[in-house]
């Protein structure tokens, strides 16, 4: 009996403590983050929120946004689950936030976007790259990563400039992300080139012999192959392609911006892929990486931490432009932001449906290392409209 009583007391005290949030000051802007700190999204949302925290600390140390609005951050874990995201987002909205940060994946962000729209609070997903999310998520949903269509446009324009003429794209209809090559295909054709074929694969397939044979037998020969495949499919594909003697330029996307790609040896040599940023000497990104190392005691191993930092810079710019911490005003200001200086890129929301226009970085694998090819912005007219299916 006594033990039971003790347990009950603990539970009651715990709940009571949890029920009273700390006081909010009048000029304080409250930002709620409902992200996947555990579970499947943790590799993206974890670093993103670390970067976000660096920006928050920096701004608060400087006296708050515009010197008057200190940031109060309420962070909650969604366990990478859509239902939990919906609960947590509602909880944050109830506690009076001005801005909501949602997970880096479309389903839970959709669930949160609906609530944010009802409450008229702007919501941002740090690293979701699907342009469908901000488009279908409503006026209050914004993304913060180079969209799939933007990355594909930059890659296609680069390939065109290299004089490549005949492309083969390999995509998987399994996820939105792996259909990115279809955007490439659209842009590449718009630039007056040909696409010899659009092959498909299943995520996790790993045997690409049929596709490789097809690519090899193309006449006229294919001079560029574009895919958004990532591990474990991409390493398998490129090895099989090179083993078959195909020497065409291969272009990938940010899904292969991982240490594996640089350890593939000869097969990956010369490979070019698009990603969100590159830390050249003296660049803003290099500066951020130093701050990260200073705060967390280790080098960052992913671009997502810088992406998180940039997200806070976007929110800061929105608050400054609105000169208000009222959610509707922030949302309207963000929708018209132009050239916000992030550490990964200049970021523009004006004229978009919520998917920012960002510079995209093209990286070439050279001697097993990273070589910067270019950091262009896409030609706006060429960016294809988001695809639903």
């Amino acid at each position: 009996m006594f033990r039971k009583l003790k347990l009950t007391t603990c539970l009651t005290v715990g709940l009571a403590m949890a029920a009273f949030p700390t006081a909010v000051f009048a000029d304080e802007i409250v930002i709620g983050t409902a992200t996947g700190q555990t579970g499947g999204l943790a590799p993206y949302d974890g670093p993103a929120m670390q970067g976000f925290q660096i920006a928050v600390d920096e701004i608060n140390e400087a006296g708050g946004i515009g010197g008057k609005h200190k940031i109060k951050l309420i962070s909650k874990d969604t366990r990478s689950d859509a239902a939990q995201t919906s609960i947590v987002a509602q909880e944050l909205i109830d506690s009076g936030i001005s801005v909501l940060v949602t997970p880096s994946d479309a389903d839970p962000s959709f669930a949160a976007a609906a609530l944010a729209t009802d409450a008229k609070i702007p919501a941002f997903s740090p690293a979701a790259s699907s342009p469908t999310l901000p488009m279908m998520g409503g006026d209050y949903m914004f993304a913060n990563f180079p969209g799939d269509n933007v990355q594909a446009t930059v890659s296609a324009e680069w390939a065109h400039k290299q004089g490549l003429k005949n492309a083969y794209v390999l995509y998987s209809p399994d996820t939105q992300y792996t259909t990115l090559p279809l955007y490439f295909s659209d842009v590449f054709k718009k630039l007056g080139n040909t696409v010899a074929g659009e092959g498909t694969y299943t995520i996790g397939q790993q045997d690409f012999s049929a596709e490789v044979t097809k690519i090899k037998s193309m006449n006229p020969p294919v001079d560029v192959v574009m895919t958004a495949a990532y591990e474990p499919d991409f390493p398998a594909f490129i090895r099989q392609l090179r083993a078959a003697g195909v020497t065409a330029q291969v272009i990938g996307s940010d899904g292969i911006d991982s240490p594996t790609t640089f350890s593939l040896g000869k097969a990956a040599e010369g490979l070019v892929f698009s990603t969100a940023g590159h830390a050249t000497a003296g660049s803003a990104l290099e500066g951020f990486n130093k701050k990260y190392a200073a705060k967390y005691g280790k080098e960052t191993d992913t671009i997502f931490s810088a992406i998180g930092y940039d997200l806070m810079k976007v929110i800061e710019a929105g608050v400054l432009a609105a000169d208000s911490i009222e959610p509707q005003a922030i949302r309207d200001a963000v929708a018209n932001l132009e050239n916000v200086k992030g550490v990964t890129s200049m970021i523009t929301y004006k004229g978009t449906t919520g998917m920012p226009v960002r510079q995209v970085t093209l990286i070439r694998v050279k001697d097993g290392g990273r070589e910067l090819v270019a950091q262009p912005s896409p030609t706006a007219d060429l960016v294809p409209a988001p695809r639903m299916q």
Binding site: L11, G14, L15, M17, A18, A19, F20, T22, Q37, T38, G39, G40, I74, S75, K76, D77, R79, D81, A82, A83, Q84, S86, I87, V88, Q90, E91, I93, D94, A106, D107, F110, A111, A114, S130, T132, L133, M136, P173, D174, T175, Q176, I203, M388, Q389
Partner: protein, 605 residues
């Protein structure tokens, strides 16, 4: 249904409604938490209807939840939205636009039909093979949902589903689910299925068609889980196929297993406990103010905490928090088994003219190379007591198993009243008048004595009403002098009493032919004598034929009209006890050649 079932059900309903009212008045995230709790509860209850009553763990129920979420979502999504997001959907789905209720009904029926088809396969399998098959179901449906891109958007977000699930709808459905789950458990179907969970073989012998009972519960449970799927889809408004896969399967199974799979209260307790604990830890993990001190942020605390609770509960109570009894059975034990309506004071024996013959002709049973029975013929008339004796391994129990349909014969035929019943499954032979007890006691151990006996008494339900079955149970209990212990859990009784429960259970099947496999095993002389009187009484009272196997030769010799002696699968002697007793072959079989000479000398003196 007993009064207690209704009180128990009323208790859950009160709790759920109270929780819903409180949550709705607080609103906001508490309300949303409660909605998710209700949805989880419905799913857990649904899984419990099958897994709890059949004892077969299912990993496949999330497949039904997924099908339901997608189908109902397609049916309720505005047509204009579908033109954008599901441009390639077939016309009949693209143009469908149903209201919430109609969509739910259509979806639940569809899922139950799917479950019926799948269930025909799964219900044939036992234990872990059934479990693995349900896992296969989950994987296959997951693959199909991804593959059916035109209507599901593959693994991409499926969005645009109207968000119609509010606290009222969720609470209403949870009430419905818990009423269905509890009534099912205490229904005739539930009783028979739980009997098969405790002992599948014995349930079969007592007339339970185990496959059919499993199939029924599987389909009902799929229907309940489908409701949870519809609600979840219309709560989130956007979801993808990964919501209906392993992570959520294990989260819901954890609730079911921690709470106790075998009871409805357990499903409820598990859902409440895990929800409460995760809500508490979740609030702490983000960092809170404790008397001005800010605790650090430690995401992951929730999962670790829940993991520890599962470990702790499993360590302390392997069957879960409420592993056997419903809350009302624990808190209101005195209401035990009290029936609605007047109790039947005097039990009248159903007077049935018991006539008939059971005949086995040249039964052979070979286990691979070993011939256990070799052309054994035997007959049993109603009103007759036949003893079947023989040394260990002579094939006595094998013969009983073949005659009661539990083992298929290799060759030979058996007849009841001249009708060929060879190959008839055990559960049907039960209805044809064959009943039995087992050498190793096989009671439905988690159930009360009354419930044990009810299983066989309800064999002919619904053509025999529950009330009539109740009278049969009372009579069987009275006959075997078990009325006083009728509400006691069968497995807690003494050995001798457990044997009596077995006989009572066999009697409640109204057998014309009763097989008793070593009923006196483990009994002392007085108990054996008392048993002998009881068995004689049975014959006088009911007039059935009794085939009794026992090693207690004095019992056999005094009790039986006729004795059949088996040795190494052959009938070596048959006849009146006195003549068999003197048969040199019998003596030799029991004592060997040398011993038999000595006995022969004694007998001739």
């Amino acid at each position: 249904m007993t009064a207690r079932t209704w009180i128990g059900t009323g208790g859950y309903v009160f709790f759920l409604v109270a929780a819903a009212v409180i949550a709705a008045s607080i609103g906001g995230s508490i309300e949303r938490t409660l909605i998710v709790f209700f949805i989880s509860l419905i799913a857990v209850l649904g899984m419990g209807v099958y897994s709890g009553n059949s004892g077969i763990l299912s990993f496949g129920h999330l497949a039904f939840m997924g099908i339901a979420a997608y189908l109902s979502g397609i049916l309720t999504m505005p047509v204009a939205m579908k033109q954008v997001t599901l441009a390639n959907a077939p016309d009949f789905l693209a143009n469908a636009h149903l209201n919430f209720f109609a969509a739910t009904v259509v979806t639940v029926i569809f899922v139950m039909v799917v479950a019926l088809v799948v269930g025909i396969v799964i219900s044939r399998l036992d234990g872990s093979s059934a479990t693995i098959t349900t896992l296969g179901l989950l994987v296959i449906v997951h693959g199909i949902i991804i593959g059916a891109r035109d209507i599901t958007r593959g693994s991409q977000s499926f969005f645009g589903v109207p968000r119609w699930t509010d606290i009222t709808v969720a609470a209403g459905c949870a009430v419905l689910a818990i009423v269905i789950a509890r009534l099912f458990k205490d229904s005739v179907f539930g009783l028979k299925l739980r009997a098969s969970r405790d002992d599948q073989l014995a349930a079969g012998a007592m007339g339970v068609n185990v496959r059919m009972q499993r199939l029924i519960s599987w389909v009902i449970s799929a229907g309940l889980v489908a409701i949870a799927g519809v609600l979840l889809g219309h709560f989130l408004g956007a979801f993808s196929v990964k919501k209906f896969y392993f992570v959520d399967t294990f989260a819901l199974l954890a609730m079911l297993i921690v709470g106790g799979m075998a009871t409805v209260s357990g499903a409820m307790a598990g859902a409440v406990l895990i929800t409460l604990v995760s809500e508490l830890l979740r609030r702490i993990e983000g960092g809170i103010d404790v008397f001005g001190f800010q605790t650090p942020t430690l995401f992951g605390t929730t999962q670790i905490g829940i993991g520890l609770i599962i470990l702790l509960v499993m360590y302390k109570r392997a069957g879960g928090l409420l592993d056997r009894l419903e809350w009302d059975e624990i808190l209101l034990p005195r209401l035990a088994g009290r029936k609605i309506g007047p109790a039947d004071a005097v039990v009248e024996a159903p007077v049935v003219a018991l006539e008939g013959t059971l005949e086995a002709r040249e039964i052979t049973k070979a286990f691979d190379g070993l011939v256990a029975l070799d052309k054994v013929s035997l007959s049993l008339k109603s009103g007759e007591i036949v003893g079947l004796i023989g040394p260990n391994g002579s094939g006595k129990t094998t013969l009983l198993n073949v005659l009661s349909g539990m083992l298929p014969e290799t060759s030979g035929k058996s007849f009841i009243d001249g009708t060929d019943v060879t190959g008839t499954p055990a559960y049907r032979l039960g209805g044809m008048g064959i009943s039995r007890t087992f050498q190793n006691i096989r009671l439905f151990s988690s159930m009360s004595v009354r419930q044990n006996v009810s299983v066989s008494a309800l064999d002919k339900w619904p053509s025999t009403t529950s009330r009539a079955a109740g009278a049969i149970v009372d009579l069987a209990l009275q006959t075997m002098k078990l009325t006083d212990v009728s509400e006691v859990q069968a497995s807690t009784l003494s050995y001798g009493d457990q044997r009596r429960v077995e006989v009572a259970r066999a009697l409640a099947l109204n057998p014309r032919f009763l097989f008793l496999d070593e009923p006196a095993a483990g009994m002392n002389r007085e108990e054996t004598d008392a048993l002998m009187d009881d068995l004689k009484g049975l014959r006088e009272q009911f007039g059935m034929g009794i085939l009794i196997v026992d090693h207690d030769l004095p019992l056999i010799m005094k009790l039986c009209d006729r004795v059949v002696v088996l040795n190494e699968g052959h009938v070596i002697a048959e006849g009146a006890p006195q003549s068999v007793q003197k048969d040199p072959q019998v003596i030799e079989a029991y004592l060997g050649k040398k011993g038999s000479r000595q006995v022969a000398e004694i007998l001739t003196e």
